[in-house]
């Protein structure tokens, strides 16, 4: 059935705030930080105008923002927060706690470079630092996707087979502060899509099967001291939940496609089918790269790209399926991993191909740190390098830095 959607002019932050307004969570606890600020500002207006029933806790730090979300979600609330860079770094301790307590919190990360020196512009160093925290990480290409993913995130997080918190990542300024056309669903359609929060049940310490929430009638104990005899088992449960997540992300993305016409998956290919060379990366740069692919195609170059939407869980199988027959692939990392052999995405992508008998040559390009621009010209440099590798069949330098002065 065709649902009438409303076209709005929104920047990425506003798109997230608008989606959260439609979701109308019980609790939002957040602290302002550039470039996330517009989310909390807009949402504060929705609260002030009575458009949501949300209790907005304007906390005194990001650490408390996520801590309050843990308390709220444990009490059965839908809880949302948003942050960036240093704010996410300050939350670091609680990221792991939220995930291990299996609380389906949703958080928008407006990607920004971590200090120091202090910088307010986009890179992925913040989200990459959180990649092992047990959160699902969805990277958005544009504001439309920021809106769409902020809605889908609840269904993913709260799915009984998942029960994990979700980060919706959007590039600072490039998306957060740039006006785009965003198609929005009617409120009631969003409400119906996400439904009411449902609870899994667990056996409490009185041997009773009870909902997984802090309910005085059915007490449970959340966050105990867990030593060597059970900690590993609890981590195994988290690993298992993460293994369930790809299926759920795809199911939710398809179902969302039915109501919106916009279907989402774990990875999004572009002109890949007959491509010989391809790039793989995250976020808004992959939008720019589509234009570069088009230009190359006009010149007869068989170029394509694969955008990773879900970085956690990491869709290794899907990446292999899409890229195994390519000749050369370039992995774009918008974060440095100091002392590592290449960027974080590169490490995972190349690792995924290790066991394949036939695999492409894989080269790493680190770009865009601290908001360094990534215009089509710079992407063209990467594709030209990939072409050279294809011709010479060898990679001279595995990790290259694009757009940095010597």
């Amino acid at each position: 059935m065709e649902i009438k959607q409303i076209l709005m002019g929104l920047n990425g932050d506003e798109a997230v705030a608008y989606a959260i307004k439609q979701v109308d969570p019980d609790v939002v606890a957040a602290y302002p930080i550039t470039p996330q600020t517009i989310i909390v500002e807009r949402f504060s207006e929705y609260v002030a105008d009575g458009e949501v029933h949300t209790e907005f806790i304007s906390v005194e730090s990001e650490h408390s923002a996520l801590s309050a979300c843990v308390g709220a979600a444990a009490a059965g609330a839908r809880a949302f927060t948003a942050t960036a860079a240093n704010g996410l770094a300050l939350m670091w301790e609680i990221l792991y706690i939220a995930a291990s307590c299996r609380l389906p919190i949703v958080m928008a990360i407006v990607n920004r470079a971590l200090s120091g020196p202090i910088n307010i512009h986009c890179d992925h160093s913040d989200a990459m630092g959180a990649r092992d925290s047990g959160w699902i990480q969805i990277f958005c290409e544009n504001s439309q996707e920021a809106y769409d993913s902020t809605i889908q995130a609840w269904r993913i997080a709260e799915h009984p087979d998942v029960q994990l918190p979700v980060m919706v990542c959007l590039d600072g300024f490039v998306l957060s502060h740039t006006l785009e056309n965003v198609m929005t669903l009617p409120d009631e359609v969003v409400k119906k899509f996400i439904g009411e929060r449902k609870f899994v049940t667990i056996k409490n310490h009185f041997g009773k099967e009870v909902p997984f929430i802090l309910d005085p009638e059915n007490p449970i104990t959340i966050g105990p001291l867990d030593l060597y005899d059970f900690y590993f088992e609890h981590k195994m449960q988290q690993i298992h939940a993460m293994e369930n997540a790809p299926r759920v992300i795809e199911e939710v993305g398809k179902e969302y496609g039915k109501i919106s016409g916009r279907t989402y998956g774990l990875v999004h290919p572009y002109k890949l089918e007959d491509a010989e060379i391809a790039i793989i990366g995250l976020g808004s740069t992959m939008g720019t790269a589509k234009i570069v692919v088009d230009r190359l195609r006009e010149k007869g170059v068989k170029a394509g790209l694969l955008r990773i939407r879900s970085f956690r869980p990491f869709p290794a199988q899907q990446i292999i399926e899409h890229l195994k027959d390519k000749k050369v692939i370039g992995v774009l990392d918008r974060a440095a991993s100091f002392g590592a052999y290449g960027g974080p995405l590169f490490n995972e992508v190349r690792n995924a191909f290790y066991d394949q008998d036939i695999k492409p040559l894989i080269s790493n390009y680190i770009y865009g740190l601290g908001g360094r621009d990534m215009p089509p010209q710079r992407l063209m440099i990467i594709f030209e390098d990939l072409q050279k590798i294809m011709e010479t069949k060898r990679i001279e330098k595995t990790v290259k830095y694009i757009g940095v002065r010597e």
């Binding site: 005194e60 650490h63 801590s67 309050a68 059965g76 609330a77 005085p216």
Partner: protein, 326 residues
């Protein structure tokens, strides 16, 4: 309306902290929590900062809690409680969600001195400023006991701890204890009190009052620690009593009413205010505790003891002034 609670009534109320917890023998925290929970009015949700109480009551797969309980981290119990309280309010607003069935839920945060004076102070201050309706109970054992007796902002001057050892040059902790309850009172929240479990009914009444006010309430209760303070476990209550009798811990309440912070002395301290000769010398309190033994052996340090006495006198006078007794 406030029901009048007697000791017999309290004794008959079921224990919401179960036996089998692994707090040390003689640990005051067990008594504090048992009594505090006996003072509750109905449904409660507890949040607990990292610390002895948290660890000893929830060693997996066991739990000692008959009430819903959450431990998040060390420095954020006030923020965690804020989230719980806000969640309840949001659900009540629309009469939807799993907690909407309750008319009221008392949200209580428990934290030790480390989680309150030091690492948790920011989250506490923020939650007080925001005005969440919850009761924060600080059980103050005056050092990081869970990690093995390190000094905190709540450790008194000249007390030995493993990070303020009584050395050849420096005789224990260098600085005075932070006046945490007064600092909290200056947040102009509805209710602040100090308490000692040597006066159980005073403590119970204060907990009840802290729950009854709307908005944040804070109770500072001294929690003598047999291991860290170096005294035999049966002396816990004696020491908690001496703290009050020496005016090391004056018992008072502060209510924010009509733009003023109104301080009132509680009965045990009020008696001393009326009859100053009842005030015992601080030495009686110090000499029972091994953490102050370097003030008595090998040579008695009257100079240091009198410095502590001076501080106690100063703080006592300050409280008397606040309570309009001077």
């Amino acid at each position: 309306m406030a029901e009048k609670l007697t000791l017999k009534d309290i004794a008959k109320k079921p224990d919401l902290l179960m036996s089998g917890h692994r707090l040390c023998a003689g640990c005051a925290a067990g008594t504090i929590v048992r009594l505090a929970l006996k003072a509750t009015r109905g449904p409660v949700i507890l949040a607990n900062a990292t610390g002895c109480l948290e660890v000893a009551t929830t060693i997996f797969p066991y739990s000692s809690w008959k009430v819903p309980w959450i431990h998040n981290a060390f420095e954020n119990v006030a923020a965690t409680a804020s989230g719980i309280e806000a969640a309840f309010r949001a659900m009540k607003k629309v009469n939807k969600g799993p907690l909407a069935k309750y008319e009221h839920i008392d949200v209580i945060a428990f934290a030790g001195d480390g989680g309150t004076y030091d690492i948790g102070f920011q989250a506490l201050s923020g939650a007080l400023e925001r005005g969440h309706d919850f009761l924060y109970i600080l059980y103050d054992n005056e050092a990081y006991m869970n990690t093995g007796i390190q000094r905190s902002g709540g450790t008194p001057r000249f007390a030995w701890t493993t990070t303020s050892p009584a050395g050849k040059v420096i005789p224990g902790k260098r600085k005075w204890k932070k006046p945490i309850a007064r600092v909290v009172a200056e947040h102009e929240i509805p209710y602040v009190a100090t308490a000692s479990i040597a006066y159980p009914m005073d403590f119970v009444r204060k907990v009840r009052k802290g729950l009854e006010v709307e908005g944040p309430a804070f109770i500072h209760v001294l929690s003598p620690c047999t291991r860290g303070w170096r005294y035999p476990p049966e002396k816990t209550i004696k020491i908690a009593k001496l703290a009050v009798e020496t005016c090391f811990l004056p018992l008072w309440e502060a209510e924010f009413k009509d733009g003023e912070i109104v301080y009132t002395l509680s009965a045990p301290s009020e008696r001393i205010a009326r009859k100053p000769e009842l005030k015992k010398p601080i030495e009686e309190y110090l000499k029972l505790q091994g953490r102050f033994s370097h003030l008595f052996r090998p040579k008695k340090r009257d100079d240091l003891i009198s410095e502590i006495q001076q501080w106690v006198d100063y703080e006592w006078r300050l409280i008397l002034k606040r309570c309009g007794k001077l």
